[in-house]
Symmetry: C2
Subunit: 339 residues, 2 copies
């Protein structure tokens, strides 16, 4: 294992920066910035805004808990309301993860829903949400979006520098440096969720770990009974085509390490499905840890994002000078009393 | 499973486009374009340019084969030469996958290499490759790079259109529309590998499934004995910091679905490691299928890339109008006689 060091391991070492990259005066690395963030930069997540999914234990009997933070307003609230009703009704209990497609999604709900007479009845009162709710009017945002501003960071060590970050607060769309490879701009909102936006609308985006609502062909938008989590490279083509209703904040590995199904990932053999023991609103789960995320409006997050884009860990000899938004995950942790 | 339809499933349906997006005259979808590509658009991969890794069978006794295509010149050839020597010496036989970090990498080689006196001796004659080999001079490319040209595609259905694609052939760097979220431009080269480049150099990039050389701190560059495959969102911060030596073209799911280790993914319990039965050069493997990839210089690839960026599958109501390079994977398949 001599030659195994990759960034996270290297971050634990106290070694000085290599000779190839002159050290900025003790520039902190992303994990250090997060660890040093003052408590005031962290935002508590209400237990009522969590869903806790208990999968059947693994082959060794180890529990598999997946904790999902629900999407806040102004996004997807029709579907989120349905998720709350489904969890309150214990609707998912005894169903399964029935689809795992490599580098794409793990999906759960009622695998027999397509078989006439076999599908589980949905609770009464679920909303039928229109496609227009895939986006929100930009004016509905009550919090600013962060975008990188050129010229406010140390130029990266490349001859082709287009400086990015630090991320700063803007309320308007006059800065176009946040444009990514898709036809939109990206930043954080609410504060704490990655979003994309254009001149008129804003929408959540499909980063790793995001949870969305599987649906049938348009104009169907799904109820929220069938859900998926992203377990691969961000499938941004799904943005504005499917409702995103949350993100996995703990336990994504229990979904991402499941055996892959053939083709589109739906298991051919029902015996391959992973049973869901229960899904509960967080406030119904005794002993659930408290969670918090690093506010994307904080100075700590600005420094963290800048450091993610310009890695100075001892391992790195060439900072990238930029990062795509799904490569700057919002830090989430258990609150101090819960660790 | 009524509401489960996600793109790949939907692509199988013959349903018309939804009313929300007026149908271009029977615009083909990515999978149809690839399926219809003439044989002349496919490039055979020589068996000698493959490494075949056989992991121990899974818990049900199913074989787990991972097929890796080695990186072609001008990239990383010092390390690739080492990989050929290590495979010829059967060096990896009996070693293991000893690190799996969620949304990052699966890593294999000699887990005991750090323990004094326990590491397996490396074959003689391995090259010590300098860091300068992480990139190649742009002038060394004998094939053109594709970058998207603005204004040559149907404008996407957004009020914020910056049209992209179709991808066309250019030999110079005067087109900057290929710039992505990192401090570089991206395209395909050689032909068939995603690369990034600036005015002077060009380098392979860390997309899903790419295989790289684990190393210690700079100036170490690794030998190639310890390798990793990307199993999460593209960790582009590693570009130009580590040698990329190939990509998994079949069997990535045998790595991506392995149990995750704690922290940086290194298993605390050696019993959690996945044994490697053997790693062989492809031309030493009896009965190995032949593989081929879709030339990125072909018209089929240009149409495929454009369709990936502007999805018209029946499932989609809003094409993204763009795609990042790691979301346009180069199609690879078994050759006709091998399927």
């Amino acid at each position: 294992m001599k030659h195994l060091i990759l960034p996270l391991a290297a971050a634990l070492l106290a070694a000085p920066l290599s000779a190839a990259e002159p050290a900025p005066a003790k520039a902190p690395i992303p994990s250090e910035i997060v660890a040093a963030a003052p408590q005031g930069d962290w935002v508590a997540i209400a237990a009522a805004d969590l869903l806790v999914m208990e999968l059947a234990p693994d082959a060794r009997g180890k529990p598999r808990r997946v904790v999902i933070q629900l999407m806040p307003a102004p996004f997807s609230q029709g579907w989120v309301g349905n998720l709350r009703k489904l969890a309150a009704a214990h609707w998912w209990d005894g169903l399964s993860v029935y689809r795992v497609q490599d580098n794409y999604v793990a999906q759960w709900g009622d695998a027999d829903g397509e078989v006439a007479g076999k599908g589980r009845k949905l609770p009464d009162g679920l909303a039928k949400v229109p496609e227009s709710e895939y986006v929100a009017p930009y004016a509905d945002l009550t919090n600013p979006i962060y975008v990188p501003i050129p010229g406010e960071t140390t130029p990266p060590a490349t001859s082709f520098a287009r400086p990015r970050g630090p991320f700063v607060k803007v309320r308007h769309l006059s800065f176009h440096s946040g444009q990514d490879s898709y036809e939109s701009f990206v930043g954080h909102a609410l504060p704490g969720w990655p979003v994309a936006y254009n001149g008129a609308t804003v929408w959540p985006i499909h980063c790793y770990g995001m949870v969305g609502v599987a649906r049938d062909l348009s104009p169907d938008t799904g109820t929220g009974a069938e859900l998926y989590a992203v377990i691969g490279h961000a499938p941004r083509q799904l943005d504005r085509n499917i409702a995103l209703v949350g993100r996995v904040i703990e336990g994504i590995e229990h979904l991402s390490s499941l055996p892959r199904g053939p083709g589109n990932g739906v298991y051919a053999d029902p015996g391959d499905r992973t049973p869901i023991r229960s899904v509960r609103p967080g406030n119904e789960v005794a002993g659930l840890p408290a969670y918090e995320y690093l506010s994307t409006e904080s100075g700590s997050f600005a420094r963290y994002a800048e450091a993610r884009a310009n890695r100075r860990d001892p391992f790195f000899i060439m900072p990238a000078g930029g990062a795509d938004i799904c490569n700057i995950p919002v830090p989430v942790r258990r609150s101090a009393g819960s660790r």
